[in-house]
């Protein structure tokens, strides 16, 4: 145990402070920066719309599709913004109103109302769903995936490329212990970076909510949601980390299994239930507290095929992930024992 910790301590510094770690930090902090930016934007809009004329929602709701521009202007009064342009021989006009909490756009084509778009200045429910989508589609699938790829492949394959692995192998320490020490270092670094990033972005999401929404959320689900997001991120590092560490040991070009895994995880939602359960992502998504909205850009045909499997229970997901990790690490340790260094082929 002491040896594992000594090796981990030596490696942690490299994982946290190397130049390549900068990209990992960028990936981990990107959602937090976006939510922080959105918070600033919401605050700015709140102050901007505070002084704008308010048109009652009842009046805007009564305007039927197909109504003439002049009738709308007579009923709803002067808009906040009025934009006119011509596209493909069609005269278009967009009038924006504000009903006290929503911004409403009335879109006209050739003088007749074509559609109405409504957007709240800020809706906590909508934002929490957006956060769930960002966490599951970007953070788990891409940020943690590529971050762990960078951190864990570096542990063995990086040392082989640097021609420095033999120094470790000359030390009086068993290969399994070396592997565990390196894995612990990668895990501590990735869990701190991505777990911290998840909490930071969750905090950024809560920072700009109205006090009423925030108060009720803090009293109900905030703590449990935050904990599950953090736990999902950490378990993502546990699962992906073990796979990439083993790939770095077993194969000369670990990009190929990484690519296969990326494709497998990407098509996960389209696979039959049983196959969906053969991926890290399925178990991580099972732990997420809020279901993400379906991506609107997904074509209708793909939506028909898309059938996410029923989520696995939290304890089964955690146990399953830990068991797979233990198995992968066992295989990697067996490989490490037989590993012979041949720098010439790198």
């Amino acid at each position: 145990m002491n040896q594992i910790w000594i090796i981990a301590k030596l490696e942690i510094r490299r994982a946290f402070f190397s130049r390549r770690a900068l990209w990992v930090y960028l990936l981990a902090l990107f959602p937090a920066v976006l939510f922080f930016g959105h918070g600033v934007n919401v605050q700015y809009q709140r102050s901007e719309y505070a002084g704008k004329p308010v048109t009652p929602a009842a009046i805007l709701d009564r305007i039927p599709t197909g109504a003439a521009e002049s009738d709308v202007l007579a009923a709803a009064g002067q808009p906040i913004t009025d934009r006119q342009w011509k596209r493909r021989d069609t005269q278009r006009r967009s009038l924006q109103y504000y009903d006290g909490s929503n911004r409403v756009w009335l879109e006209f084509e050739n003088g007749a109302l074509k559609s109405t778009r409504r957007r709240t200045l800020n809706s906590f429910e909508e934002d929490s769903k957006v956060y769930a989508g960002v966490f599951q589609f970007f953070y788990l699938r891409l940020a943690i995936f590529f971050g762990c790829l960078g951190i864990f492949i570096n542990l063995f394959r990086g040392e082989m490329i640097d021609k420095s692995l033999h120094y470790w192998f000359l030390a009086p320490v068993r290969r399994e212990i070396l592997l565990l020490g390196k894995y612990c270092a990668g895990l501590i670094a990735s869990a701190a970076i991505f777990g911290g990033g998840a909490l930071l972005s969750f905090g950024a999401l809560l920072a700009y909510q109205s006090s009423a929404d925030l108060q009720s959320y803090l009293q109900s689900d905030a703590l449990s949601h935050g904990t599950w997001y953090f736990l999902s991120a950490v378990l993502g590092c546990v699962g992906y980390g073990s796979v990439f560490l083993a790939a770095g040991l077993l194969l000369r070009n670990p990009i190929i299994p990484a690519l296969v895994m990326l494709l497998w995880e990407s098509i996960n939602g389209f696979l039959p239930d049983l196959l969906q359960k053969l991926s890290v992502l399925h178990y991580l998504q099972s732990l997420c507290p809020v279901a993400p909205p379906l991506d609107p850009s997904v074509p209708p045909l793909a939506r028909m095929i898309l059938a996410p499997a029923a989520p696995t229970s939290a304890w089964a997901a955690i146990t399953g992930l830990l068991a797979v990790t233990a198995l992968v690490l066992y295989v990697a340790s067996r490989t490490a024992r037989r590993l012979e260094i041949n720098y010439g082929t790198e």
Binding site: R20, L27, F30, P31, L34, F35, G37, H38, N41, R87, R119, V130, G133, V134, F137, F138, R141, L142, A143, F146, L149, G150, I153, N154, R157, G158, I161, N253, P254, I255, I256, A258, L259, L262, D295, S297
Partner: protein, 291 residues
């Protein structure tokens, strides 16, 4: 006897032509790449979609064989069987995925080993400029990526042109032109990304991950920018989306109205390519500091 002082003079013998020097790198690298099992697997897999498209073209040009279209027929099915810009845009989109994977596998090994082993002075000691070196490396990828993009595209277009009437070709020759231009731009973009990643990180393995990350992470990042800020301009950051929009414009296919237009996407692509080229040129400096 040791020689302490030696004078050098410029080589005055016969030189190979510029073209021969330019093609020297691809000549050696292509056989090495084609000997890789994974590259062959990818090349074979990339042929399935063009074959399906060729089958579709055959069926669309023999619509009378379908019982429902024999006499008068169903307009919906007839419309679905039309070979137009949308068909080629989808074809190009699918083939582009193979090109990315191929670039991620083949690209990193082109510059990274030269930088990692300080081999650049060996190249630049010969009559080879930086631009020629980059061009020669890009030529390697151009040849390889053409096999999954341009070549199948031209075959599919040629098949449609030969099966359809001459009136179709007269009316739709711009589709072929748009496809060639679109693929050329795409190959240039993917090659430049692969070469820049290869030069930036020096490690083959990490460079491969970076090529994949460039496309996948930027696509994800652009989506979440759109989601969080409820905007559409975030799509501009996605090179896949930007190039698809340019393709649609070249093929005369309409895109979503509220999404960024073709010119905006083209401008962003140019800026992106300029930035990548600047990084590549910065990394490829023919100097060696001996300490």
């Amino acid at each position: 006897m040791a020689v302490f002082k030696r004078g050098y003079q410029r080589y005055a013998g016969p030189r190979t032509s510029n073209l021969t020097r330019f093609l020297a790198v691809p000549r050696f690298v292509w056989p090495k790449l084609l000997a890789e099992r994974f590259v062959i697997i990818l090349l074979v897999n990339s042929l399935f979609w063009p074959m399906l498209c060729a089958g579709f073209i055959y069926v669309s040009n023999h619509a009378e064989l379908l019982p429902s279209l024999g006499s008068g027929g169903d307009d919906g099915i007839r419309k679905m069987l039309t070979i137009d810009g949308k068909f080629f845009a989808i074809f190009m989109n699918v083939q582009s995925t193979f090109a990315i994977i191929l670039a991620a596998i083949a690209g990193p090994g082109l510059i990274a080993p030269d930088l990692a082993n300080n081999a650049l002075p060996l190249y630049f000691a010969r009559p080879l400029s930086r631009w020629t070196y980059i061009g020669a490396r890009m030529m390697v990828l151009f040849g390889l990526l053409s096999l999954v993009t341009l070549l199948p595209g031209l075959i599919v277009f040629g098949m449609q042109a030969s099966l359809a009437s001459s009136a179709w070709l007269a009316a739709n020759w711009t589709l072929g032109q748009g496809m060639v231009l679109g693929f050329l731009l795409y190959i240039f973009m993917v090659s430049l990304i692969a070469l820049t990643c290869s030069a930036y990180v020096k490690w083959r393995v990490v460079a491969g991950a970076l090529v994949l990350g460039f496309f996948f992470v930027l696509a994800g990042a652009s989506k979440i920018i759109n989601q969080v800020f409820r905007v559409e301009w975030g799509s501009l950051l996605n090179p896949g989306y930007a190039i698809y929009t340019v393709w649609c414009a070249l093929l005369g296919v309409e895109t979503a109205e509220d999404a960024p237009g073709a010119w905006e996407c083209f401008t962003v692509l140019l800026v992106m390519l300029g930035a990548l080229l600047a990084v590549l040129l910065r990394k490829l400096r023919p100097v060696e500091v001996v300490s």
